[in-house]
């Protein structure tokens, strides 16, 4: 590992948070593997990261929502040197109202955000355990902390993913593998995914702020990190509100 630049595999590299995180790694001279669906967009990011100091950047087109031989693919992206971090950013917000009426839409939200993500996480856990180093950092959501009528299908998927990553973190720690797993749970983030919502107020974070937390989480801490930190307390309160009271609010 000495002298070699860090090698970072980014799943869902066209997300705003992923791109902001990749810029931090680029400035450190890391080698980046950018996986996403749209090659043209990945190429835009690739050139930017190289100009910002990345020692290498590779754009890989793949539909992550439909994992196909996840272990082999991940091993190929990590390369012979292995991966210092696998970062999982992709996901879809989906439309709650539609999901309530159309089971196919509900299935899609669950399968993208949970089933497919779980496959990549399990593959990454095996890879990192075999390497005996590296970190898996997964973007969860505070929506997974308590079911709310406005987005509980998405929330349920993220909650499931959270338990899975926690379990992986437990496993990697207990077996003394030297590898780690962290779930980062952002609150409101100003990204294209949330462009339909009004974005004023102190609770909205910039992708750059989340990126710094992800970068730090790959280095240490966890297994569950709220981003920014104050969401830990907000969600604690939200979880503690008794159901009879909670059910009177259109949250």
């Amino acid at each position: 590992m000495s002298g070699q630049p860090r090698r970072i595999v980014i799943l869902g590299a066209t997300s705003a948070m992923a791109e902001a995180t990749a810029r931090l790694y680029a400035a450190e001279g890391a080698a980046l593997v950018l996986v996403g669906r749209r090659l043209d967009r990945l190429e835009e990011i690739r050139a930017d990261l190289l100009a910002r100091g990345a020692s290498a950047a590779e754009a890989v087109a793949a539909d992550l929502a439909r994992p196909d031989a996840a272990a082999d693919q991940l091993a190929a992206w990590a390369g012979p040197q292995g991966a210092d971090a696998v970062l999982l950013f992709y996901g879809v917000l989906g439309d709650q109202a539609q999901a309530e009426r159309d089971p196919a839409i509900a299935r899609e939200i669950l399968s993208v955000n949970f089933t497919s993500a779980a496959e990549w996480c399990l593959a990454a856990a095996n890879l990192l355990e075999a390497q005996r180093r590296g970190a898996l950092v997964v973007i969860g959501s505070v929506a997974g902390d308590r079911g709310r009528q406005s987005n509980y299908v998405y929330g349920a998927a993220k909650a499931g993913l959270g338990v899975l990553v926690q379990g992986i973190a437990h496993r990697l720690a207990l077996r003394n593998t030297g590898a780690r797993a962290v779930l980062v749970k952002p609150g409101f983030v100003d990204t294209p995914m949330t462009d339909g919502l009004p974005k004023g107020g102190p609770l909205w974070a910039k992708p750059e702020a989340i990126a710094r937390i992800v970068r730090a989480s790959a280095q240490g801490g966890g297994p569950v990190v709220y981003a920014p930190w104050f969401w830990r307390f907000i969600m604690l309160i939200i979880r503690l509100v008794p159901a009879p009271l909670f059910h009177k609010r259109p949250l």
Partner: protein, 443 residues
């Protein structure tokens, strides 16, 4: 569907005009292509905007479509050996400095804030404190890509025979949407400047200092006490600087404080202004002398405070910036300062600077050889506009002109008088684009 959303949240830096506009914020090149075509097809037309650091209404398109460019901020290429960078037009100078300075490069020209985009800097052909040394921003553009609402994309260089490059630099966003630009950066040893502050009393002293300093210093500008009358008329602090050989490449930091709410309108009145200006002069005069300073404090002192435009209250404010040619500069500036002092209005941020003779590449570029004066005025409605009419008469008489990036009110006559190349510019306007400013002055 390209996702335009109706909003009244967009306003210019002066915040006098707030109007409903349909805004889209593309993040990818294919989204920009779609947005430009859709905006152009709308009856009220489209307009690209950057970080909205223009004071007046040249970055607004009331009732129309607006393409917010700041989500397109990727670098295409950067060569640390030659200092040539190519990047999306939505990239800010803030980010560009962060990219370039660690390699010993700095933008050749920077305005008084680093929160402007490359596209916005080109569309206004902005100037810095080194105008006499480096000319305008547009002189350092090697190439740019212009996306028109008919779906075409043109790559333009300074020697472009069609005239579209000259129309686009300083073209106020009207000739098309700048998609990316390639710039030549300047070599800098580190992040510091050797600077010197000198107190002066009166305009003759300013002109003498300026004539001397443009030969010895790359960066010059003066702060004037716009409330000074009689003996104190035209007193101020002259600042000059050269990049320092000190090799430390310390980057600037994000703004530390931000103004959270609109200040009460009465905060900035003639009395507080006089007191502030007198105090500021005394303080600066006492501390005059040489020192080493970071580029952030020399070029971007206001960036330390986020949203400082809220200090002028909810009604907003205007900036008045003019340039007058050398032959009439002395008298015109004296007359303007006398009028301002008598009015009791004006700002704590009055800036006086000499523009050099280097020609600007743009047909509508604001800078020309002469002296430029810039200051803010809180918006008091009719009396403020009346005052500006008196200034206009002085500037016009002197053969000068106003800066569209700072204007929010002049009529077609005043604009045309100042910009003789307007007739050559007009044919290059993209028929799908317009702005509040353009609607007002083109007739």
């Amino acid at each position: 569907m390209t996702g335009f959303q109706a909003t009244s949240e967009l306003s210019s830096w002066g915040r006098v005009v707030r109007a409903r506009q349909d805004v889209v914020r593309p993040h990818w090149r294919d989204q920009l292509a779609a947005a430009v075509e859709e905006a152009g097809a709308r009856p009220e037309g489209g307009l690209a905007v950057g970080l909205a650091r223009s004071y007046g209404d040249s970055g607004l398109n009331s009732g129309g479509a607006v393409i917010a460019m700041s989500g397109l901020d990727r670098v295409h290429s950067f060569d640390p050996a030659t200092g040539v960078v190519r990047a999306d037009a939505g990239m800010s100078l803030d980010a560009l400095i962060g990219l370039a300075l660690p390699h010993g490069w700095f933008p050749a020209v920077v305005p008084g804030t680093r929160f402007v985009t490359l596209g916005g800097a080109i569309a206004n052909d902005v100037h810095g404190k080194n105008h006499h040394d480096a000319g305008t921003f547009g002189r350092h553009v090697r190439r740019l890509a212009l996306r028109r609402t008919d779906g075409s994309v043109r790559e333009l260089t300074p020697d472009d025979p069609s005239g579209l490059f000259a129309a686009t630099v300083g073209g106020l966003g009207l000739t098309g949407v700048i998609a990316w630009a390639e710039l030549q950066l300047s070599r800098w040893a580190g992040a510091f400047l050797d600077s010197e502050d000198i107190a002066f009393r009166g305009l003759d002293a300013f002109f003498a200092l300026s004539a001397e300093s443009v030969r010895t210093h790359a960066y010059t500008a003066a702060w004037v006490d716009c409330t000074g009358r009689g003996r104190n008329l035209g007193r101020g602090i002259f600042s000059r600087a050269n990049p320092s050989p000190d090799p430390r490449r310390t980057l600037h930091r994000p703004p530390r404080v931000s103004i959270p709410v609109d200040a009460p309108a009465a905060l900035l009145n003639p009395l507080t202004l006089r007191a502030f200006n007198a105090g500021y002069f005394a303080l600066k005069a006492a501390r005059a002398g040489r020192r080493q300073a970071h580029y952030d404090s020399v070029f971007f002192p206001l960036d330390a405070i986020g949203a400082w435009n809220r200090l002028y209250g909810r009604a907003g404010f205007y900036q008045y910036q003019c340039v007058v040619p050398p032959a009439s500069a002395r008298d015109a500036v004296a007359e303007l300062l006398a009028q301002i002092a008598a009015s009791g209005e004006g700002s704590v941020l009055a800036v006086l600077k000499t523009f050099g003779a280097l020609p600007s590449p743009g047909l509508l570029s604001f800078p020309m050889e002469g002296t430029t004066l810039a200051l803010d005025f809180r918006n008091r409605g009719e009396p403020t506009l009346k005052l500006f009419d008196r200034f206009d008469a002085i500037v016009r008489e002197a053969g000068g002109r106003l800066y569209p990036a700072k204007d929010g009110r002049i009529g077609a006559g005043m604009f045309q008088a100042g910009y003789p190349q307007l007739a050559a510019f007009a044919p290059h306007v993209d028929p799908g684009l317009t702005s509040n400013f353009w609607k007002r002055v083109k007739s």
